[in-house]
Structure formats: structure tokens, C-alpha cells
């Protein structure tokens, strides 16, 4: 964009007061991606880069907090100089889960405005609800696709903060697909549904699964059917 000090140059965006666009102040969105899986980190990083985002990928919630300068035990070491526009995090991670990270971010006065998107391989309604209630912007069911990234990027370019609470938790907030883990009927808000599911788990017995597997869906979680919103497969 040409630097033009003349008063005839009008800009619609209100945040820029001078025309001095230094390299660190570009309009490219900066995303902090958090995932303990090396493979998933590589993929999400590429998905974001190809969608014209700057990416910082870390392997744990702890490191994410350190990057933001929120880690209690460690002093911020200046890495948080780059503004973060969006945080996308895996739900199931050892140590701090994505949910716990979400809570910490929303509890912080400095960072609670940053939209947080949760990714999970498990499509569990109770989990989705819990995250959205805690303030997550969206919930993506893995594996993450380009269309998912494009969708969340749209949140950042629109003035979503105003409409955030008003939009509520409609269908567009959830990624629902055809194959499902649990086989019972969907809640009534979901209008279109496919007749059959791919794989069905046997009913879960709480006595077998203990609290040491925090990310396994418990039998107390509401079952959900994944609905296919696209016509692929």
C-alpha cells in the first residue's frame, strides 16, 4: 500500500492514525495454534499459512500461555510482542487441556477478547457446549479442512465481537459430519440428517474408564450424531 501523507487519502478503518505501516504492523492475521500432535501442528500451520495467516505453533497450553505472557511461573520474556488475533487449540492435550487453556484466556483481562477456536477429534455435544459456554468462538471436529480454516478466518475479518453473543449457538457454530462415534438421535435443533452412521461404539462402561483418560468421552456425555453439511463422501 503506498504511503501517502496527503489528507486526500481516506481510510475506512478507524484503528490507523498514521500512515506509518512498519513491518510488524501488517494486516495479516496472526494465529497462535496449540496442538500436542506434531502431525496436526504441521497440517494446521500449513492450512493457516495458505489462508494468508501468520502462524505461531506451540505444543502445549503451557507454552501458549508463556507465549502470551500469561504463564504464572515464568516471566514473560518478550515473545509476546506480536499481537495474537486468534487462538486455535486442540482439546485433548496432556497437562493442560484446550478447555483449561480457553478458561485461562477468558479469565485474563488482557487476552479475553482474543477469539478462541477449539479442535477435537471427538464430536461430543456436551464438550462442544461446555467450550462454547466458556467463550469459545467455534468448535472444529478434526481432521481440520481448508474450509474450516476459511470459515474461522471470516470471523476475524467481520466485526464479530458485536454479534458474538447475539448469534448464539446455531448450527453454523458447529462442525457436524456424517460418521459418528455415538449412535443416538440428534437434538431437535439440527434439521437435516443422514440416515446412517459409519461406526458405532458399544455403550461405555464407566468402571472401565477412569479419570486417567480425561479425553475419552464418558458415558455421561450426551450422544450426538454428526451431520454432513457438505455433500462430499
Amino acid at each position: 500500500m503506498a504511503r501517502n501523507g496527503a489528507v486526500t487519502w481516506r481510510r475506512r478503518t478507524e484503528k490507523i492514525e498514521s500512515f506509518d505501516l512498519s513491518p510488524s504492523d501488517t494486516e495479516e492475521v496472526h494465529v497462535l495454534a496449540v496442538d500436542d500432535s506434531h502431525v496436526d501442528r504441521k497440517v494446521i500451520e500449513r492450512l493457516l499459512r495458505i489462508s494468508s495467516c501468520k502462524v505461531t505453533a506451540v505444543d502445549s497450553g503451557r507454552r501458549a500461555l508463556q507465549f502470551l505472557g500469561l504463564d504464572e511461573e515464568k516471566e514473560s520474556n518478550g515473545l509476546d510482542g506480536l499481537k495474537v488475533d486468534l487462538i486455535i487449540t486442540d482439546y485433548c492435550m496432556p497437562g493442560m487441556t484446550g478447555y483449561e487453556l480457553l478458561k485461562k484466556i477468558k479469565e485474563s483481562s488482557a487476552f479475553r477478547e482474543i477469539p478462541v477456536v477449539i479442535m477435537s477429534s471427538e464430536n461430543v455435544l456436551a464438550r462442544i457446549d461446555r467450550c462454547l459456554e466458556e467463550g469459545a468462538e467455534d468448535f472444529i471436529v478434526k481432521p481440520v479442512k481448508l474450509s474450516d480454516v476459511k470459515r474461522i478466518k471470516d470471523y476475524m475479518t467481520r466485526d464479530f465481537r458485536v454479534g458474538e453473543r447475539e448469534r448464539g449457538r446455531g448450527i453454523n457454530k458447529r462442525k457436524l459430519r456424517d460418521s459418528c462415534d455415538l449412535s443416538l438421535s440428534p437434538p431437535s435443533i439440527l434439521s437435516s440428517s443422514s440416515p446412517s452412521s459409519q461406526s458405532q461404539s458399544p455403550s461405555l462402561s464407566p468402571s472401565i474408564l477412569s479419570a486417567t483418560a480425561p479425553c475419552s468421552p464418558s458415558s455421561l456425555d450426551s450422544p450426538t450424531r454428526r451431520l454432513k453439511m457438505t455433500s462430499s463422501e
Binding site: 500432535s37 477429534s121 472401565i208 483418560a213
Partner: protein
């Protein structure tokens, strides 16, 4: 239609990987992330997958050698393994992982062991097919001798 016979052969190979159910839609997603600046992206991800998941395979193997089975632990490893397999579009491997997890949840040790053998077969078969497709070897690490012997059939 590819005029180059080598390319045509690769296209046929690729199509059969989908037709025979080895790969799913997610693999196509990865292919779409490839461009002139990142021409080997898919190969890189697949290589990373095999390197990274080798550790998980080993963990499961070792856990299956300790009786009684710690189903929580087994399920935990398989959850991670399934996730990565899903991310690269490894359809058959993912299906075996899902089955393994179901056996974990119902505490079926026999089922776990049987499924794990099948999983390793699919994992190895996919590697061979992808190596042929990419035309480069995909290097393994961290394998126990028994796993190596099982896989090199």
C-alpha cells in the same frame, strides 16, 4: 489424460489407493495444500506421521506385554495414534484404531491383541504403497525387533 507414462502410472496408483480404501478425503485435503513453493508437503506429512507414530506403536506393543492390560493407557495411546492417522487420511489404519479403542472400552484384551496385529499390517501396507507412490523410502524409527520382524513380511 496424462501423456507422460510415468505420471499416468502414478495417477493410476493414486486412484487405486482411494478405490481400495487405503486413503480417504483427508489425503486430498493435504494434496490441496501442496503448491510450487511446497511441492513435497504431503510426503513430508506422511514421513512425519510414520516417524511420530512409530513411538505410539511401540508403546502399545510394550503395554500389551504387561498383564493385566491397562486399558486406559492403551486407549490413550490409540487415541493419539488414531488422531494422526485421521489427519493424513489413513482410512484403514484409522478404522483399526477405532476398533481397538472399542475393545479397550469394553475391556476385551483378546480383541485388542487381534486388532493390533491387523492394525500393524495395515500400517505397514500403507507405508509400502505410499513409498511406491512418492518413490522415496519412509524411514522408521524406534521399532522393537519383534515389530520390525512383524512388519517386514
Amino acid at each position: 489424460m496424462e501423456r507422460n507414462p510415468m505420471r499416468r502410472q502414478l495417477a493410476v496408483m493414486r486412484q487405486s489407493l482411494f478405490d481400495q480404501g487405503y486413503l480417504d478425503e483427508q489425503f486430498v485435503q493435504l494434496e490441496e495444500l501442496q503448491d510450487d513453493a511446497n511441492p513435497n508437503f504431503v510426503e513430508e506429512v506422511v514421513t512425519l506421521y510414520y516417524r511420530d507414530s512409530a513411538r505410539l506403536i511401540l508403546n502399545v506393543e510394550q503395554a500389551l506385554e504387561r498383564k493385566p492390560f491397562d486399558f486406559n493407557k492403551l486407549d490413550g495411546y490409540m487415541h493419539q495414534f488414531k488422531g494422526s492417522s485421521s489427519s493424513i487420511g489413513a482410512k484403514k489404519v484409522k478404522a483399526e484404531s477405532t476398533l481397538f479403542r472399542e475393545y479397550c472400552k469394553s475391556g476385551n484384551g483378546e480383541g485388542c491383541m487381534r486388532t493390533f496385529q491387523q492394525l500393524k499390517k495395515e500400517y505397514a501396507t500403507l507405508r509400502k504403497k505410499l513409498e511406491a507412490y512418492f518413490q522415496v523410502p519412509i524411514i522408521f524409527q524406534f521399532f522393537s525387533l519383534s515389530t520390525l520382524l512383524n512388519m517386514c513380511f
